[in-house]
Symmetry: C2
C-alpha cells in the first residue's frame, strides 16, 4: 500500500509556481506571446536577477561557477555533503515559449520553498540550478553549462566562441557575472549526490496517453548525416530524362529508400530530413546539386548502429548516376537514467495519485551530461500537442504543479540518502 | 537526283562566321569564357552597334521597330514585297554562352553576305533580325520582341516592367534606341513572307545521332505548375512519425507519384522539378512547408492534356495529411512548323550532303511567335553535349557553317516565291 505524500509535496503552491512562469515570460517577451531570452543576454541577466531575488527573499544562498551556472541552495543538516541538484535552464530559443527550461528551474525553486513552508529539513543540501546556455542558439554548442560542469568541454576554449554579432562568449559571460554581483563562487564540477531535471515533454505522448507524469528512462541516441548529391545542370525542355543526372530526383530516391529502411511499426524511430537545398533552384533547369541532412534518433544503440550504418551505402545505391558523399555530423549514444531514480519518480507519482508512465526523451537536456557524473533522472509533464521551441508552447498550471510535487517527493527522498 | 547547291551556299565563309561569333562573345565576356549580355544593357547596345557596323560595311540597310527589334535588309528585285526574315537574338543568359541566339543572327548576316559574294539576286528582300530580349533574364517575359511583333503583348504595358535594379524597360529601350541612331523606323508587325531561325540545338540529340542539321518540326508544348505543401513544424527528436505532417516527405511522395505518371519508355516526356524550397530548412525541425515547381513538356497536345490534368489530383492524393495547392503557371500548346519549310530544310541538307534528321525543339524560340503570322521553320546545329545557358556552351565552326549553308539554300528558295 502506498505511503502518504510528504508534507513538502503538499505545500507545492500551484499559483505561486504559475505566476513565476508568467513573471519570467515577461523577460524577453515576444509580441506573439513567446519568449526570446538568449544566453548571456540582457534578458538572461534579468532572469538571473529575478531568480536571485526570489531566492534571497526566502533566505536561500546563491552561487555561481565560472561558466555562469547559477545555484540556489537550501542547506541540509549535514552541510558538507554533496548536494542533490535539480534544475534546467533559463535561456530560450529565439522564437521560444514560456516553459522549456524555465519550468525545471522554477519547479526546483518551488520545491525549496515547499520544504521551507513545510518546515522539513533534509540531510543533504538541495540546490536548484540554472545551467548556462542550454539552447545553443546564440553561442554554439548548446548544453554548454552542463557540458562544462562535467568536463566535456573546456571553458577556456568556449570563451572565444562568438555570436552572429561578433560578441565573444567570454565577454558576454564576464558581463553577466558582473551584472549579478555578490554571489558565492564555485569551482566547476563539484561533487553531486544526484540530479533530477523537470521539463515539459516537448512531445505529444503524455497528452495523447492521458498521463500527467513521465518517468524519463533515458535520452535517445542520435546519428546525424549530411548528404551532398552532385549531378549535372541541364535544360528542362531539351534534355531527355534518360541522359539526365538530376540531383533532386536522386536525392528523393535516397530519402525514399531511407524512409523504407527506417520504417518502424512501433513508431520509435525518429527519421527527419529537415534541410534540403537545391541548386540552382530554377524552375526550368534540371538540378545539378542537392545538399540534405538526416536526423536519425533511437533509444537502442543496436538499432542506431544497424540502421545508421546502412545510410551511406543506401544513398550510393540510389544515386542515379550522380556523385554522392555522406558525412556523419553527430553521433551520440543513448543515455540511460539511473533505474532507482526512475522507480522513485514512478512511485512518487503513484503515491500522489497522478497518472504516469515511463517515457524516453526524444530531445537533449542538461541531464544528458549530468548522467555522466551522478545518479540522474528526469520528470516530464505534458505540453499542449507536444509543441515546443515555438511561441505557441503551452502547459497547464495543474500539470506543472503535479510535476513539482513529484519532484518534491523524489528530492526529499534523495536528500536523506 | 539532288540538284547542286546554290552559288550562295558555296560562298558561306566558315572563318568569317566563326570570327564574328568570337567578336560578339567579347561584348559581355565573362572571365569563365561565357557571355553575360542582358537585354537593352550596354553590352547589348555594343552588340547591336557591331551588327549595324558589319551591315553598313556591306551596304545593307538597318531598321528598328518600337520594341527595338533590329532588321538588316538586303534588297530584293521587287522592293515592295514582304521580306523573308531570318534571325534570332543577341541577348544572353547571365551565365550564358557564345552561340545561343547569336548564331541565328550571325548566320542570317552570313547568308546576306554570301548572296552578295555570289552576286545572287532574290525576288523578295531578305532580312536578318535580332529580336529584343529573348532570354527574359533581365526583363520578364522572354521572347518579348517577337511576341510584341506578332501582337501577343502590348508595348505600352511592357514599358513599365522593371529590372532588379528598378530600371524601367521603357527607359532602357529608349536609351538603346538613342545609342543606335540613324536607323530607319519600322512599325511593329509588318507583313512577313516567311521566317527561318537557325539555332544551336541546346540538347544532345543531333550530336548523339551523328547529325549536323536538324530540320525542326515544331516546339513542344509546356504546362508549368507551382505546388505549395503546408504541413506542421515539429521537433525532430520528440515527434512520432505517425503524427507528423511532414511537408518535405509529402512533397517527395508527390514528386515520386508524378515521376511514375510521367514515365515514358520513348523518353519524349520532359518532366522537371527544378525549384524546391523547404521551410524552416533546419536540420532538426520537421519541415512545415515546401514550395516546388513542375515543368512538363511534350510535343503532343493530347499527352499534355491527359498527363497535365492529373497533376493536381495526384498531388492531393499524396499529401499525407498536409494541405496542398497546385497552381498552373504557364500553359503553351505545341507549335508545328510549316511542313513545306521543314521539307525544304531537309532537302537542302541532303543536297549539301549533310547528315540531317527531323527534330522537335524542347526549348522556346522567337520562332514560336513568328509561326503565328508567317510560314516558319528552324534549323538546328549540334552543340557539345547539349549544354546551353552555360559558359561551357560550345559548337563547331564547321557545324555553324553547315547550318548557314542550309539557311542560304532555304532563304534563296523562299525569296524567289
Amino acid at each position: 500500500m502506498a505511503q502518504s505524500p510528504t508534507r513538502a509535496a503538499d505545500r507545492v503552491d500551484e499559483t505561486r509556481l504559475w505566476q513565476r512562469h508568467m513573471a519570467m515570460a515577461r523577460l524577453g517577451a515576444r509580441a506573439d506571446g513567446g519568449v526570446n531570452r538568449q544566453a548571456l543576454s540582457d534578458e538572461d541577466i534579468a532572469a538571473r536577477r529575478q531568480l536571485i531575488g526570489w531566492a534571497a527573499a526566502r533566505g536561500f544562498t546563491c552561487a555561481v561557477d565560472p561558466i555562469g551556472n547559477l545555484f540556489v541552495r537550501r542547506a541540509g543538516r549535514e552541510r558538507d555533503l554533496p548536494p542533490v541538484l535539480t534544475g534546467s535552464h533559463l535561456d530560450s530559443q529565439p522564437s521560444g515559449g514560456k516553459f522549456d527550461g524555465t519550468y525545471g528551474v522554477l519547479a526546483g525553486l518551488e520545491v525549496l520553498e515547499a520544504l521551507e513552508d513545510a518546515r522539513v529539513t533534509t540531510r543533504r543540501p538541495i540546490e536548484a540550478v540554472a545551467w548556462t546556455n542550454e539552447e545553443g542558439s546564440r553561442f554554439q554548442p548548446g548544453a554548454m553549462g552542463s557540458a562544462a560542469f562535467v568536463g566535456r568541454v573546456q571553458l577556456v576554449a568556449l570563451r572565444d566562441t562568438v555570436d552572429r554579432a561578433g560578441i565573444r562568449l567570454g565577454d558576454a559571460l564576464d558581463a553577466t557575472l558582473a551584472a549579478t554581483p555578490g554571489l558565492a563562487r564555485r569551482a566547476l564540477g563539484f561533487p553531486v549526490a544526484a540530479y533530477i531535471e523537470s521539463h515539459i515533454e516537448q512531445g505529444p505522448l503524455l497528452e495523447a496517453d492521458g498521463k500527467v507524469i513521465g518517468a524519463v528512462t533515458g535520452i535517445q541516441g542520435s546519428r546525424w548525416f549530411a548528404v551532398e548529391v552532385t549531378g549535372e545542370e541541364a535544360h528542362a525542355g531539351t534534355t531527355p530524362l534518360k541522359i539526365r543526372k538530376d540531383a533532386l530526383k536522386a536525392a528523393m530516391a535516397m530519402v525514399a529508400a531511407l524512409e523504407a529502411l527506417m520504417a518502424d511499426a512501433t513508431d520509435v524511430v525518429r527519421f527527419t530530413v529537415g534541410r534540403f537545398d537545391v541548386s540552382p533552384n530554377s524552375p526550368n533547369t534540371v538540378p545539378g546539386r542537392v545538399f540534405f541532412t538526416i536526423d536519425f534518433r533511437h533509444p537502442d544503440p543496436a538499432v542506431l548502429q544497424r540502421l545508421g550504418d546502412q545510410v551511406p551505402a543506401l544513398c550510393a545505391a540510389h544515386a542515379r548516376g550522380c556523385a554522392v558523399s555522406v558525412t556523419p555530423t553527430f553521433d551520440a549514444p543513448p543515455t540511460h537514467f539511473t533505474q532507482g531514480i526512475v522507480a522513485s519518480i514512478s512511485a512518487a507519482a503513484a503515491r500522489l495519485g497522478l497518472p504516469h508512465r515511463d517515457i524516453f526523451s526524444g530531445a537533449f537536456h542538461d541531464a544528458k551530461f549530468l548522467a555522466e557524473v551522478a545518479p540522474t533522472g528526469m520528470i516530464f509533464v505534458p505540453c499542449a500537442r507536444g509543441i515546443s521551441h515555438n511561441p505557441a508552447e503551452s502547459a497547464k498550471a495543474s500539470d506543472l504543479a503535479a510535476g513539482a510535487r513529484v519532484l518534491a517527493e523524489v528530492l526529499a527522498e534523495l536528500a536523506e540518502q
